[in-house]
Symmetry: C2
Subunit: 220 residues, 2 copies
DNA sequence: GGTATATTCAATATTTCAATTGAATGATTG
DNA sequence: CAATCATTCAATTGAAATATTGAATATACC
């Protein structure tokens, strides 16, 4: 028998990946990076966490092969290593959804009640985009919108939604999206739009999935 | 304390799942349970770990929704919560394979050199099983074989391979499999069979994937 | 070159995790 | 009902992860 069995060595590596995913803040970083490469600076601001802290998490993630870093001028820009990282996060999310009662509780309490109608699938949105009979709303903050969005989408951050209601065409259906499947902002937007009489629905998931599915992305 | 944001609450749950996957021994338990429900006793024996230790890991995994337990007489039988758990483990493995140089090194050193021929896919094996022109070898220990195996497979544990070489039909191709993609035993078996002049290949992955793909399983 | 800015490093205190041991519980058997 | 077996619990110890702080390094800009 070989002293360090190859199997154990491999499992240690797999465990390293999983363990590194096992931190809420790092999952949040992956959600952000799922939208595109970002600097440490910007990520720290998004998370509302100290820069040194975020930097350390990113380095931990780099050691585990989840992200890669590249220096651009005085910024260090991190990005996801590849699509498999998002896939892994999705797989973990599914385990939690299926088997943790706690998740069900949270989702019911905060999300489901606000989404009585079926969310719109990516395929459906792609189709309706071609017809032009739909208004697509990107409710993320402006900086995230600028770094990449669904072509033709209007950027209406949640904070500005009420102010810009008047500019929306009440005849068209509205589809709102934000970062990912559990991004609260799109739920909130749909709920407020409906309250104003709009026909609003939510995209089933967010920007990262849109990109991962090979859809077109526009940047301004 | 005001309740934390639903998003953070969710991410904590996701992180719990990932963190729980982040231990080599627990991954090994999942590999074992991927073959079917097992008692604490048997799992401990398989891992060569103290029972109390394994029991604790299993309870940790139960809290994270990865496994479920059921009392059967004086045994407590654990099983995977559902298919999503194996899917998550697979997704994590993929991240590691794609992005960790260390994994590549281990695989190259221990596995690849012993597998110059392409492994057989599940689909291919299903087809050739119908033709009957292939000998399927299950090289796992007898107890694991008994709890479920590919229909028509011969159980030849690695330890008995040499002794039973004479009983194998040299005219037929041989396909060997064991637990999972990285289960060393099937590599070893193929290598030894080839050294004896047999036409031997390895199934691309193992028992859990065979089951997950909805293939038939026989038990003796 | 000097200074501001972005990021990383290093040291520390705190918390959490893991393995070990022996005792306690629950179910079965005689 | 005692004895036995499988499992879990509880307490302890050592190891590892995390957040926090302030200093160090690199790059750009003036």
């Amino acid at each position: 028998m070989s002293s360090p069995s190859p199997k154990l060595a491999l499992f240690k590596q797999f465990a390293l990946v999983a363990k590194t995913l096992g931190h809420p803040q790092r999952l949040e970083l992956i959600e952000q990076l799922g939208q595109g490469p970002r600097s440490v600076d910007l990520l720290a601001e998004k998370l509302g966490a100290p820069i040194a802290n975020v930097s350390q998490h990113l380095q931990t993630m780099r050691r585990a092969g989840l992200v890669a870093a590249e220096r651009q001028g005085k910024f260090v820009v991190y990005r996801l290593a590849d699509d498999s990282v998002l896939a892994a996060m999705k797989a973990i999310r599914r385990v939690a959804e299926n088997n943790l009662a706690e998740v069900d509780k949270i989702v019911r309490g905060y999300f489901e009640e606000r989404d009585s109608l079926e969310p719109v699938t990516r395929e459906e949105l792609s189709g309706r985009l071609r017809d032009g009979m739909v208004t697509v709303l990107d409710v993320r903050p402006a900086d995230e919108f600028e770094l990449g969005h669904v072509p033709g989408a209007l950027n209406v951050p949640l904070s500005e939604l009420d102010a810009r209601l008047a500019t929306l065409d009440p005849e068209k259906d509205i589809v709102a999206y934000c970062r990912g499947a559990y991004c609260v902002m799109s739920f909130e937007a749909v709920s407020r739009l409906r309250a104003q009489g709009f026909s609003a629905r939510r995209l089933e998931d967010g920007m990262p999935e849109w990109v991962a599915a090979g859809n077109a992305v526009a940047s301004s």
